[in-house]
């Protein structure tokens, strides 16, 4: 789960280019993204809509089309970890036990659950994706005693990526819809659902266009806009035309800068690297410094790679659910990277390096990622074979105390220097 909601909703990112247009876009985006702040998330269910809670981000178009209020508990945990008091929340969560190296975003989510801060849901949907940690969170939520009477549904995200896997997941989504209809008394409005999917297709296409523009050297704008775009289109109830509008204007403004061969303001771009993991909540203390002091720009991370989206086939409910299943299993950041084999992760990394003309791959290897921590050698060997400088870090994307940003900066600087990039 990627997030740095605090920085994004409360401040203007340090690398924002083009004061006028981009500041305006920032303001608008931040206004919408503020809905993700934990306090707002906790209060929203009081709005009278039935409240569905999920362990992971699976079904935004469906719940919106059913006019339900939806909370992704992992996102709430991740957002909490990124708040100014994130470290205290993590410490309180650690005291609760569980497992000493559990992902801190999930730990914070558990803290919200057990404190108990979360309002009582009307239905619970859990999924085993993207990782052992969220799977565990789902099982905790499922068996949380005060919610014992709340109806529950469990999704099985397969690790395969063949047509049969998408069909299988789509069938489960169909069952989930029936479950939600029964649990909440709301019907899935097919017309609205398909309309939301179409709007979301438009947003996906715009994000894909933005990715294309990021290929320009120097990178025209803060590449992190892609991640913000993902959050706007997936984590906020989807299909909002104002989000489509922001993305459209973002693409247009970026295009202008590409035409003018303009890079990011204040950055003399020398190095373009891939941070192949979740962008850390402490990114604000690292990426701007890398960019301004070393000219090293983080072109991509898991969430800023959130494109191109599988187009939802809106010819019928069934085709929409099947393609929705595919979109979930293949395009959703983190699920894409954490649910499949090491080969898929590496293929992505090498392709991105090539297509975006990157100079290095950084494998942060967040401690919560039991998947990544199980194949650093494969990643290193693949990069070595392809002649791409590779750095393994070993940090915690949610808790900067594990490896302070200054130390990460120094490590990356030494690495860039020793491979001749800086």
């Amino acid at each position: 789960m990627s997030d740095k909601a605090t920085q994004m909703t409360m401040t203007t990112p340090a690398l924002a280019s083009d004061a006028g247009v981009f500041d305006q876009l920032n303001r608008e985006a931040n206004g919408i993204l503020a809905e993700l702040l934990p306090q707002k998330l906790l209060e929203a269910p009081k709005g009278g809509k039935p409240f569905v809670i999920g362990s992971d981000e699976v079904l935004p178009e469906i719940v919106s089309a059913m006019d339900l209020y939806y909370n992704i508990l992992t996102v709430t945990g991740a957002t909490a970890a990124g708040m100014p008091d994130g470290a205290q929340t993590i410490d309180k969560a650690i005291e609760m036990g569980v497992e000493s190296r559990l992902c801190n975003a999930v730990r914070c989510a558990m803290y919200y659950l057990y404190s108990p801060l979360m309002p009582m849901p009307d239905a619970i949907v859990t999924t085993n994706s993207p990782c052992d940690a969220v799977d565990t969170l789902g099982i905790m939520m499922d068996n949380y005693k005060p919610w014992a009477h709340v109806p529950k549904f469990h999704l099985d995200a397969p690790h395969g990526r063949e047509e049969e896997d998408f069909v299988y997941f789509g069938k489960q989504l169909k069952e989930m819809v029936l479950f939600l209809e029964k649990a909440t008394g709301r019907k899935l409005d097919l017309g609205r659902f398909l309309a939301l999917c179409e709007e979301s297709n438009r947003q996906g296409a715009l994000l894909a266009e933005f990715q294309e523009l990021k290929r320009a050297v120097p990178c025209p704008v803060d590449p992190d806009w892609a991640r913000r775009g993902f959050r706007l289109s997936r984590w906020i109830p989807p299909g909002r035309p104002e989000v489509t509008d922001i993305l459209r204007r973002l693409v247009a403004a970026t295009e202008e800068r590409v035409k003018a061969k303009q890079g990011m303001d204040g950055v003399d771009e020398k190095i373009r690297f891939l941070w192949w993991d979740v962008s850390p909540v402490w990114a604000g203390k690292l990426f701007p410094r890398l960019a301004t002091e070393l000219g090293a720009v983080c072109l991509m991370d898991y969430y800023s790679y959130a494109a191109p989206w599988t187009v939802i086939d809106t010819t019928s409910e069934e085709s929409a659910l099947r393609t929705f299943g595919k979109r979930y299993l293949i395009d959703t950041p983190m699920t894409r990277q954490a649910m499949h084999g090491a080969d898929f992760w590496i293929e992505d990394a090498l392709r991105i390096v090539k297509e975006f003309r990157l100079d290095a791959v950084v494998m942060p290897c967040h401690i919560g990622h039991k998947d990544l921590n199980a194949f650093p050698k494969i990643a290193r060997d693949a990069c070595r074979e392809a002649g791409i400088p590779f750095l393994f870090l070993g940090c915690d994307v949610w808790d900067e105390r594990y490896m302070p940003p200054d130390k990460v900066f120094e490590t990356m600087k030494t690495f860039f220097q020793s491979v001749g990039l800086a």
Partner: protein, 383 residues
């Protein structure tokens, strides 16, 4: 006097459990037989048996460290796959003709990638996609995955797995489970004739030798145990162990040296393996295997929606084996079991059963500390 002194059958099984490449594997191989290694207890051995292969459950017995494997994993990875993979890198699993890994936890799943990447001498490798939810749609999906596994095994090993052969294999493995259940039942009495550490050895041997020989050995052992006096101390605290890769008798040995007895377990090499059975014959054997794996025994903590079944299985064991306390062993970095124990601790407390939960490595680094914690726990549960 322990079974090692009194029972040649047990001695044989303990020898098999105490090493990787054991004499039964050797004679199987020298007779031209092939061995299929696998990670995780849910993998249907029946398919391998039906193909005429010897199923061998991967473990880390005898590992001294993770030096070689540490290039492939970080310190954040669970030490069970690290130890066993280290042995693989040292050639200790070179006797395998195939390896099937299931999509269980993230670390095991990527051990499949590492195994392939390391270029180990295992001619056949396969990743089996197993559902992580219990339900009918999942049965259907899993049946298709089993069908694919069956075809891949048939093709690689030039074997024909007929329905008849599959049912025979199911019956053979059901017989193993039935005999293991009998073995466990013997431990329900106040002074069991077999200790917890001895049981670990018997169970581990079951996944390391031909099933027919194992069943024969179990029958002999059961006959011997039926007439043997109990070796434990009457009135000793009766404990149960829960956790993942419990393939080594040392934790039980600590408990038993400190005056307790381990009377049952809910672990991936022990009690979880023999719960439930598949038979009798009816219809499609792959569907029967799929239903068994998905619906009847979702005992892996990676399976969503099934914690109540796991909790019930633990509570049933607590009742049936008159357990005074549960030791929950979580390997460091294991999210699934960490969560499971977190839930179980409160649930057992509610049922009036104390639980000692601790994190450890596959080879515990501090036996002294573990002994102290076990001692303290025994004080709290002593009758």
């Amino acid at each position: 006097m322990g079974l090692s002194e009194t029972s040649p059958t047990f001695r044989d099984l303990a020898r098999i459990a105490g090493t990787l490449r054991n004499p039964r594997v050797d004679s199987w191989k020298s007779g031209g037989g092939k061995v299929m290694g696998y990670y995780c207890s849910f993998i249907p051995e029946e398919i391998f048996v039906a193909a005429g292969l010897l199923p061998f459950r991967i473990r880390g017995t005898g590992s001294q460290g993770t030096e070689l494997a540490d290039q492939y994993y970080t310190q954040v990875s669970c030490t069970f796959p690290r130890h066993s993979f280290d042995q693989a890198l040292r050639g200790e699993f070179d006797f395998l003709d195939g390896l099937v890994v299931g999509t269980s936890c993230d670390t095991i799943r990527h051990t499949f990638d590492n195994w392939k990447h390391a270029g180990l001498k295992t001619p056949f490798t396969y990743l089996l996609h197993r559902p992580h939810v219990t339900g009918e749609l999942q049965v259907d999906y899993y049946r298709r995955q089993l069908e694919k596994l069956k075809s891949a095994v048939e093709e690689h090993f030039a074997a024909r797995i007929t329905d008849e052969k599959l049912w025979e294999a199911i019956e053979l493995c059901d017989e193993t489970r039935r005999l293991q259940q009998e073995l466990y039942a013997l431990r329900k009495v106040p002074n069991p004739a077999i200790t917890g550490s001895e049981t670990v050895a018997v169970m581990v041997a079951g996944a390391s030798m031909p099933k027919t020989d194992y069943n024969a050995a179990l029958r002999t052992l059961l006959a011997e145990l039926g007439t043997a006096p109990g070796g434990g101390k009457a009135g000793a605290a009766r404990l149960m162990i829960a956790g993942c890769a419990h393939d080594d008798p040392s934790l039980c040995a600590i408990v038993e040296a400190e005056g307790g007895i381990v009377v049952t377990d809910f672990t991936c090499f022990g009690g979880k393996v023999m719960l439930e059975s598949i038979g009798p014959r009816s219809g499609d054997p792959l569907l029967a295997l799929a239903r068994y794996g998905v619906l009847d025994r979702p005992f892996c903590p990676k399976i969503g929606g099934a914690h109540p079944m796991r909790k019930q299985a633990v509570l049933d064991m607590v009742r049936d084996f008159k357990v005074d306390g549960v030791i929950g062993q979580v390997l460091v970095s294991c999210d699934p079991w960490g969560g499971e124990m977190f839930l179980l601790k409160d649930e057992l407390k509610e049922a009036g059963i104390p639980m000692l939960k601790f994190e450890t490595d596959y080879l515990p680094s501090s036996v002294g500390q573990l002994t102290t914690r076990v001692q303290a726990f025994l004080e709290t549960v002593r009758r």
